[in-house]
């Protein structure tokens, strides 16, 4: 059994393009849920706004790439306003109900056959990512070597001996942009949550009536958090769509939202770096388990009769779910959360 391959794969993925999607989505969720206490169960729909906004603008309406980005962001803002205006004056659970329903509506609309000429229906869309990859500054045919880092006709290999990280030329560009965005939003978040504005958000999370009695317009603050978190969700959608070079409606199910929550809780909610650490660990474990099991079945470490390769996918999610349950019992604060803070009674 090839442990080296399994670890290399898992570690490659742990800082790769997909992990960045989870990290970005969870950063947005961290502002909404971690700091403000808003139960947004529709983060997948905000990602879909970004992904579909970009794809439809470029493919169906033939607009330039940057227009697509602008439209994706605008769509996320509009959606946040639409969801927020009726629900943010009400109790927290109403937002949860409305967002989970809205996310499903968005997905159903995207896969509806009626508009399949513009949205691509259940097949989704491709062919919008070329302008993005044309901007790729990494030379596609470079070949060089420096210590343990080498470039083999555009393919980056970082060889640590016991394991190695490998990224294709396109992955490199997605990761460059993705990590830049992650760092950018982490910087913004760090400034915001340590400002008086962030203090009001935390106050709202604790007790919005109290904050209201202190002269703060709670509705406006909640709306700002929902909109900004949604914008970051749309950015996650851009990276998601661009890294796969296609959009498909059925990737934006509620599962997607719950992965963002898993990532956030795993890393530690209301901590700046929580989402990034959570995303890396989540995606590392996912790949380690699935690659490990596949290798184990192939090498017949696990006998054929016990587990077939098609059963591995569901089994991995079962194991991750179990891990999540154990995490909530034994380490509810996540990787870097504050247990003392979490254990205080909240009225």
């Amino acid at each position: 059994m090839d442990w080296q391959f399994v670890f290399s794969q898992a570690l490659t993925q742990a800082i790769g393009p997909t992990m960045l999607v989870y990290a970005l989505g969870a950063i947005g969720l961290n502002l909404q849920f971690g700091y403000t206490g808003l139960l947004n169960f529709g983060q997948a729909a905000f990602a879909a706004m970004g992904a579909y906004g970009l794809a439809m603008a470029v493919v169906a309406f033939d607009l330039p790439f940057w227009w697509g980005i602008a439209i994706g962001l605008a769509a996320a803002v509009v959606m946040a306003l639409l969801l927020g205006i009726p629900t943010l004056r009400l109790r927290a659970d109403y937002l949860a109900i409305v967002t989970i329903a809205a996310a499903e509506i968005v997905r159903r609309l995207a896969r509806a056959t009626v508009w399949s000429d513009t949205t691509g229906g259940s097949d989704g869309m491709r062919g919008f990512s070329e302008p993005f990859f044309e901007m790729n500054p990494w030379p596609p045919d470079a070949t060089w070597e420096f210590l343990f880092v080498s470039m083999d006709s555009g393919r980056l290999v970082i060889d640590f001996g016991i394991f190695s990280l490998q990224y294709s030329n396109r992955d490199l560009w997605v990761m460059t942009v993705g990590w830049a965005l992650v760092l950018f939003f982490l910087g913004i978040m760090a400034l915001l949550v340590h400002s008086p504005w962030g203090r009001v958000l935390k106050g709202i999370r604790e007790d919005e009536e109290a904050v209201r009695s202190l002269g703060k317009n709670v509705f406006a603050y909640k709306m700002q958090a929902l909109v900004f978190g949604g914008i970051i969700g749309a950015v996650a959608g851009f990276i998601f769509a661009l890294s796969r070079a296609n959009v498909q409606p059925d990737t934006f199910t509620t599962d997607f939202t719950f992965y963002f929550y898993v990532v956030l809780i795993l890393g530690g909610a209301a901590r700046i770096f929580g989402p990034v650490l959570g995303a890396a660990l989540f995606w590392f474990l996912y790949n380690l388990l699935s690659q490990g099991l596949i290798q184990a079945v192939r090498a017949e470490v696990i006998p054929q009769g016990m587990l077939s390769t098609t059963q591995i996918g569901p089994l991995v999610f079962f194991l991750l779910g179990l891990g999540m349950v154990l995490l909530l019992i034994y380490r509810p604060q996540g990787l870097i959360g504050n247990r003392k803070e979490l254990m205080l009674d909240v009225r």
């Binding site: 913004i188 400034l191 915001l192 340590h194 400002s195 008086p196 504005w197 962030g198 203090r199 009001v200 935390k202 106050g203 999370r205 604790e206 007790d207 009536e209 109290a210 904050v211 209201r212 009695s213 202190l214 002269g215 703060k216 317009n217 709670v218 700002q224 900004f228 003392k340 803070e341 979490l342 205080l344 009674d345 909240v346 009225r347």
Partner: protein, 318 residues
């Protein structure tokens, strides 16, 4: 990290200078909290109310709050139906009444936490019945809650700072540029420290508010309300669930509010407390204002005894 260090430095800079006047005051002033200027507050309050007749809706020489025809019905049940009430500026006014009299509902209406079925009221010369709760607070009328609302997973200091009014850094875009609000924040921090000193919470400033005892939370809530520099402070059962030792210090704090020129309106059940600190008492029963007067007048009023004190009165004599 640097944030914390800086705030530590700040604290060590400001703490001694903050302490000095407070200690002096503690030494020279009697525990009743009456500095020479302090006596002025109560004297003025008594003088202003001297000629006011003890009847419901009596008009006051300089009312800060004037409410007319305030009515709140929940379906068929009329919870509040107050014809007229004026609260004299600079006094401590108690709002008493048996359970279910509508005191807290009336409170919620005045502070914008509930909407009236009908009625108007003016606060400090502005019509306030259309204001939302946060606008009421900004206008200078700040309330506390019957069940204390400490922001549990925030530090005591953050609880105080969030109360400060018109903060530049509370705008989202301004939050991104610390230099725009650092100076204001430092000033607010200084004010918070002196308030915490006054309310004896200074040693708790870095603890989570959730770690405070019930009584300390009451103190924190009152101190936090003062961060808004209100004109009028509304206390909803400030003594509920507070032990007798702390009760006395809370009473002194409330008296100090009057000496600082604030108007206090509070809901209370404890008649001893009402007697001790209130300049004026308004009595509600079944949603209506049944009478008003000084504490002595109220105790002697047969209507009040019937409506509210009756049961206690009988029980006490047995």
């Amino acid at each position: 990290m640097s944030d914390k260090e800086r705030s530590d430095n700040e604290r060590s800079d400001t703490a001694p200078t903050e302490k000095a006047p407070a200690e002096q005051a503690a030494e020279t002033a009697p525990p009743a909290g009456g500095t020479p200027a302090g006596k002025a507050g109560i004297t003025a309050a008594k003088a202003a109310l001297k000629d006011v007749p003890p009847e419901p809706g009596a008009s006051k020489p300089d009312p800060i709050l004037t409410a007319s025809g305030v009515r709140r019905a929940f379906g068929g049940l009329v919870a509040v139906d107050v014809d007229h009430l004026e609260v004299q500026r600079g006094t401590i006014t108690a709002l008493i009444g048996p359970n279910g009299a509508g005191k807290t509902t009336f409170f919620n209406l005045l502070t914008g936490f509930d909407r009236p079925s009908q009625g108007t009221w003016e606060f400090d010369g502005h019509r306030a019945n259309r204001m939302r709760s946060y606008q009421v607070a900004r206008a200078g009328m700040v309330r506390t809650f019957q069940l204390t609302k400490a922001l549990t997973r925030m530090s005591v200091m953050d609880n105080m700072l969030i109360g400060a009014h018109s903060q530049i850094g509370e705008r989202m875009w301004a939050g991104l540029f610390p230099r725009l609000w650092k100076r204001q924040e430092a000033a607010n921090r200084e004010r918070a420290l002196s308030l915490l000193e006054r309310f004896k919470l200074i040693d708790k400033r870095d603890d989570y508010a959730g770690e405070l005892s019930g009584g300390q939370r009451k103190l924190l809530e009152m101190a936090r309300a003062l961060m808004l520099e209100p004109k009028m402070i509304m206390l909803d059962e400030p003594m509920a669930g507070v032990n007798p030792a702390l009760k006395q210090s809370l009473l002194e704090h409330i008296k100090d509010l009057r000496e600082d020129g604030m108007t206090v309106l509070f809901v209370e059940h404890d008649m001893d407390m009402v007697h001790e600190i209130a300049d004026w008492v308004a009595v509600m029963a079944a949603g209506q204002l049944i009478t008003e007067g000084t504490p002595d007048q109220i105790s002697a009023d047969q209507r009040v005894i019937d409506a509210y004190l009756g049961a206690h009165h009988d029980a006490a004599q047995h």
